[in-house]
Subunit: 228 residues, 4 copies
């Protein structure tokens, strides 16, 4: 079970070809190995079609990338909490900058996830929207300045004030809310700084998925969280 | 100029045929007459194509129904803050339940409106999303349970706890935030209760637009705010 | 392999609880049994998270419910053609009335599916939009009047002219286009009429998914196609 | 009244600051002057909030930039056909690449416009989607490759085959359909070529709106249509 008060690294597989199908399973196994090696929580977030197979293949927590605010019924092409839960998935991202939702639907998705026993990590793009997200009581709030996503320029170095402002505003709304940050995280040092600034970990994607040796980088990220 | 610490009544013209074109101008004039008669602030919110004419026709504040998060440029079919402002419009609704926005875009629209000197009244559907809205620092937060919109069942009577919870949660985030409520408001008594529950006024639509004598109803609503 | 010039029955699992997870696998097996028993093509269309398991469990064609018009990359929460294809899925619905797309994106999704070797069944709501869809060259065009979906009132009986008009307009654009119809199909007779009106089969959902004995109903539907 | 079988130039004001408010009125007057001078039909397409004032200021046809598929009622922030019509507006763009619609809603908007006596110019991005649009029977179909919009690289020179393919496919569906083309049109020669390739005129925006002397450029465009 995921411990919400301990450091964590969430690896978003997005829709990269390097993290699709068999390669997604292989990547999830490397994340599992890094987690076991270091004792640090690592969560993998594969595409919907790969969810079930990855949950079967690894013991670390698996999250979905999105959840629709729907009940069972006439919702062709949507993501049903019950279906996600039945695979053994542990939680879900909500409102990632690449899969945004109306404010109202963010809350509906959080509520649905809670009802079905799925953890929620809700994403926002800046300190003010992060505080808004915190008011909706997800399990985790994650801040990602979209202009840095995929750039290799780490938010923790390029915009440390975004992180400290987010921590301040979010904790004003809910002082126990776990906060992650993401965008451009590619080196262990970026993780170190992120934790120093008050987060509990990072949300990473291309920095791991497109790395030559994801296992090694994940180990270095995990070790960085242990030195705090 | 609108005083944000005094009672107000916002009349949303929506896209009712009774509040379109010439009839919109006529309705705005009745609202103006009720405002002058009672001394209570009444704001009218016509359709985009009627905005300019109504601003020319009345002296009470006029709001737009929505604002897009765009800068001048290639945005065919969208609502530009500069264009709204140039008509003399005083402010805008944002995120009405019939014109919802992504969380991020609510904030962008608020910021754009502030830059251009437009007031913002941001709508939400329940106490938690109202608190989220308040974290984005609009000028006014308005709570409307969508299931009561257009029913004639007033939120202030049917769901008073929705209003008191909203007031509590919003004021925890920003204790000076003006709060309105809406949905089903059709009698002066509904307004009286709304103010007793801690709001600064109401957001009404069909209760006024489809009334036989909008002027009289608006006067009764306005007088109800004076008796607090 | 699906034969596009022979009768077919597509069973859309939507997001019904009766067609989620293990129950989806069981339902797919009943469809497979009915297909083998009658020799009629039956395609099953489960939710994304169930796709891989169902492809492994049955030999009949499996379709996805939707496909996003994306290339591999930064598209968290979206449906990538490559990921769908790698599961062994044979094709996809596009533009179902519950998962509509911009006109431009319908075409992009069709093109992407073709590139990756996925068949496309594109849905439309009336004769004119069906003709528009046919102009985009999918493999199959399916007409479903949305007002009849889930009603049990079969389009083939209630609105036969919708089907004949669709067949006429679509075949004017592309005379070899296979046409299906759906909405309210629940009895073998509805299928018989649908084929008499010029379609090649039906797109069904609740009529099968919520049936007490889906196998028997599917056999009766399949036999109805054989009597033409 | 607009003649659908004679050359025309549609000037999309988009949301450029140069075509907002008073400057929109001034630009519309220059378009009117160019139309009177040359005898060529010029249509102006201002923002919604400027529509009424421009219709009052000029005698040339004015179009809206978009129309929502709504009936009068609870549609805050949307564009109602009745409201647009009452201003004296002659028609509307639909499905511009910057304001796209679901396939179904394109048709609904066309039908609504027809009911209210508004002409429709529906936009598409390539030959296949233009043919799809033609199947929905608008008054005018306009092809604009979005990758060329605002570039100054004219579609008529850079991608003449896009225009000829569009003309061929659209006229196969409806041989009398007026076809316009747009994107990058900035010189009279671009217009000349566009007409030679089988269109009835052009849809222009920045080429006119951001020109130093819009009147002169419009005259040169109009004269180009007369030399065919």
């Amino acid at each position: 079970m995921l411990k919400l008060n301990e450091p964590m690294i969430i690896v978003n597989f997005k829709t990269f070809i390097e993290s699709t199908g068999k390669r997604a399973v292989e990547l999830a196994k490397q994340a599992e190995r890094a987690s076991k090696e270091t004792g640090v929580q690592i969560i993998v977030v594969p595409q919907f079609v790969d969810l079930a197979k990855i949950v079967e293949s690894v013991e670390i927590p698996v999250f979905a990338q999105h959840l629709d605010h729907i009940k069972p019924g006439n919702s062709t092409g949507h993501i049903l909490a019950e279906a996600v839960k039945e695979t053994g998935t542990a939680g879900t991202l909500i409102n990632h900058s690449e899969r945004q939702l109306y404010l109202r639907d963010i809350q509906s998705s959080i509520e649905l996830a809670k009802e079905k026993g799925l953890l929620t990590c809700v994403c926002a793009n800046n300190p003010a929207t992060s505080a808004a997200v915190a008011a909706l009581r997800p399990d985790i709030t994650s801040i990602e300045p979209p202009e840095l996503i995929g750039t290799g320029i780490p938010v923790s170095k390029a915009k440390p004030e975004v992180i400290t402002d987010t921590v301040a505003l979010v904790h004003k709304v809910d002082k126990s809310m776990p906060i992650l940050c993401g965008a451009g995280i590619s080196q262990a040092e970026d993780v170190t700084i992120a934790l120093k600034l008050g987060t509990l970990g990072v949300l990473v994607a291309s920095g791991i998925v497109k790395a030559k040796d994801p296992y090694n980088i994940l180990c270095s990220f995990a070790n960085a969280t242990l030195q705090q």
